[in-house]
Symmetry: C2
Subunit: 162 residues, 2 copies
């Protein structure tokens, strides 16, 4: 059993699950293609642009969140595991080359395990954001994890079921 399938810790982990009416290959493709990601990753009217996505351990997982006014907020993470088309793991604790990210103090670091499981022609989609502790999960919840990631997932679903 891969270690990333360790049991959930309900106090520290935030979970987003959905059965998507599209096959795994299609959902995966929309997940790893920068052109698609730019369409669904950020709840509109924000957009995620300038993707650097390098699908191997130690690869970049970075983009810029662009406001409707054109302001840009860089987001820098690191890919940890890729098992196409079934799993990708990435973290905000590191950046490309496994280098630690500076500690910012405001946004709690998390690692995200996203799995894509075939259910006939549909996809059982699951994203688990793992935090250092319950305080990190709480802050992330208060920052709107479920609303934000849920709205983004709605956009992903629209894209792959269109």
């Amino acid at each position: 059993m891969p270690h990333t399938d360790l049991p959930l810790d309900p106090a520290c982990d935030l979970v987003l699950e959905r059965v998507i009416d599209a096959p795994v290959a299609r959902v995966w493709a929309a997940w790893v293609d920068p052109a698609s990601l730019s369409q669904w990753w950020c709840p509109k009217p924000y957009r995620a642009t300038d993707w650097a996505l390098d699908l191997e351990p130690g690869g970049a997982f970075a983009f810029v969140v662009r406001s409707p006014e054109g302001e840009g907020f860089p987001y820098v993470g690191c890919v940890l595991e890729v098992e196409a088309p079934h799993r990708i793991v990435w973290t905000t604790a590191l950046r490309a080359g496994f280098r630690p990210n500076p500690q910012t103090g405001d946004v709690p670091a998390f690692s995200c395990v996203v799995t894509f499981e075939a259910d006939g022609e549909r996809t059982r989609y699951r994203a688990v954001a793992r935090h250092a502790n319950a305080a990190g999960a709480r802050v992330h919840t208060e920052m709107g994890f479920h609303e934000g990631w849920g709205a983004a997932l709605d956009q992903l679903v629209s894209l792959v079921t269109a």
Copy 2:
């Protein structure tokens, strides 16, 4: 080229290099075996005990530093990449299952890329500790990185050349 072979950043990376008069297989074996690690990892009279070392991405990289008086200081990290017998990458920014470690504020997080390259019957050994920034590397230097890791390496060399 794996991402972990990215060029050094002299401001943020601390490097320990040595040509060891023992073959790669022997140095590697002493590096990944808890019984051996307990003998060389900490400069004596300290010892590293209770190893949890799981040689796959997301596996534990954890032990207890034991003082001569018997006090124990837990150390908890995560394995990121393993390419036996030539490379192991681990980080203090995460722990088992890729979960972020809590931010402590005192010890700067780092990721360590250790490589073992054959040079005839000898081993070109290299450990690179990659920090978030120059401040992290400076703190780690002031904490005695070179003295501590150098003394531990001396112990590893004694063990594999005995």
